[in-house]
């Protein structure tokens, strides 16, 4: 664990892997507001408040699994995205193999960001690693299922975006009328199903 300054009112705590960050985020958020990143937890409090808490929590028994088991979601996808063939080209697979790779893993919501309801999905097929577009598209349709780096993601609403789009879903992802407006939350799992 590495503690880095993030201004005078927050501290960035860096971990060696995503799961460890998520477990620590769960523990820290009981005491202070946090923002979970890929392998980091930003704690929104001055270092003088965070450091003693980290010390105290380090001394107590350290769980190896998250306390909260996330919800399991199945998301149905039409794999007809504009970048499907490009992803196939980059990864050296056929489009059908890309779809099979994307639908045969159970992914985990690593963390949230970019936009309300946007979940960075981790633990996907390691062959599906692709760079972002050099120039982001000004308009990406809501429900676009896309890849960037080792992440998968679904655009909850129309926005600009630089991820490679391989499909689309009609399922809801963000709805402020619901008690739980973001469907996918850190720790949840997602299984994509081709239709």
């Amino acid at each position: 664990m590495k503690v880095l300054p993030s201004g005078d009112k927050a501290v960035l705590v860096e971990f060696s892997e995503a799961l460890e960050a998520r477990i620590w985020a769960e523990r820290l958020v009981e005491h202070l507001p946090v923002t979970l990143g890929a392998t980091t937890v930003l704690v929104h409090a001055p270092r003088s408040a965070v450091q003693p808490l980290l010390t105290a929590l380090s001394k107590s028994s350290n769980p190896h699994t998250p306390a909260h088991q996330g919800q399991a979601h199945t998301i149905t996808v039409h794999y007809d995205g504009p970048d499907l063939h490009r992803v196939a080209g980059i990864t050296g697979m056929s489009p059908d193999q890309v779809i099979t790779a994307h639908t045969s893993c159970r992914l985990t919501v690593g963390f949230a960001g970019f936009a309300p309801g946007f979940a960075y999905l981790i633990d996907g097929d390691p062959r599906l690693q692709v760079p972002r577009l050099d120039v982001p598209r000004p308009h990406v349709a809501a429900g676009s299922v896309a890849l960037a780096g080792a992440f998968s993601g679904i655009y909850p609403r129309e926005s600009a975006g630089g991820w490679l789009i391989i499909g689309r879903t009609k399922e809801w992802l963000w709805d402020t009328e619901r008690e739980r407006p973001a469907r996918l939350r850190p720790g949840d799992t997602v299984h994509f199903e081709a239709i």
């Binding site: 880095l4 993030s6 201004g7 009112k9 927050a10 923002t35 392998t39 980091t40 960001g113 407006p181």
Partner: protein, 284 residues
Amino acid sequence: MSIRIVESTGLTLLQDSGRFGMSALGVGPSGVFDRRAFQQANLLLGNDENAAVIEHCGGTLKLTATRDHAITITGALGPLAIDAQPIEAGRVVQLAQGSTLTIKPPIVGLRYLVAVAGGFNAELVLGSRSRDTLAHLGPEPLQTGSTLNVGFSTVAAWAGSITPLLPTGEFRLRVVLGPRDDWFTATAIEQLLTTVWEVDPLSGRVGIRLNGPNLERCQTQELLSEGVVRGSIQVTNNGMPIILGPDHPVTGGYPVIGVITDSDTDLLAHVRPGDTISLSRHLL
């Protein structure tokens, strides 16, 4: 109990203190940019400290009242009038039923706050009345013809006035280096702290872009997205620093070279395109 926007040229938004602890939903803080001016306005009027106000940036704003309201204007400084009669900023004035408040573009600063006794009412979205311009959350931007309901006020307003807090000339802000200052060359760190940066026109509530030398990295791998705060100075892949504002996304994939001290971020509400900013190192 309402106020109508008769004319708005510019960006006219409702803001309160924002949304907190929603990062797991991908929802950022948003909220009023100049928090000190917000606190002043609500103190003057005897309002709840989180009562929503109008944050206006840009051209002319004209409001009329459908009944008598006590109002105050804080933040930027410029020509203010009620029915062509000039009024003072930073003190409570009466906007009588049928009267029109006219706010012209500011002389000093950029964002005016218009507050009313009782606060502006609008539907709460995730606990706040703030408009998040990045996430498109909260009350729609106010336009000519919009009507805002006003809450009840039972507290007497304060008869005194407050002193504006705005600097003139160059903005001098303090910066805490990190969390990713070690991703940049020593030259880049020196440039960050010695350059007189110019504010780019493509700046707003999401971030203030700075024109100057390109800050060079010594580590060029992709950063895994991590949490950012209001005041984080992200450096894009082409070396341009962007200071994040209240509507920043919750996580970012560009390395943050330093973070403006929290109290200095209020001043960023008032930097205009072409203004200059210099940064000095603040040691924790």
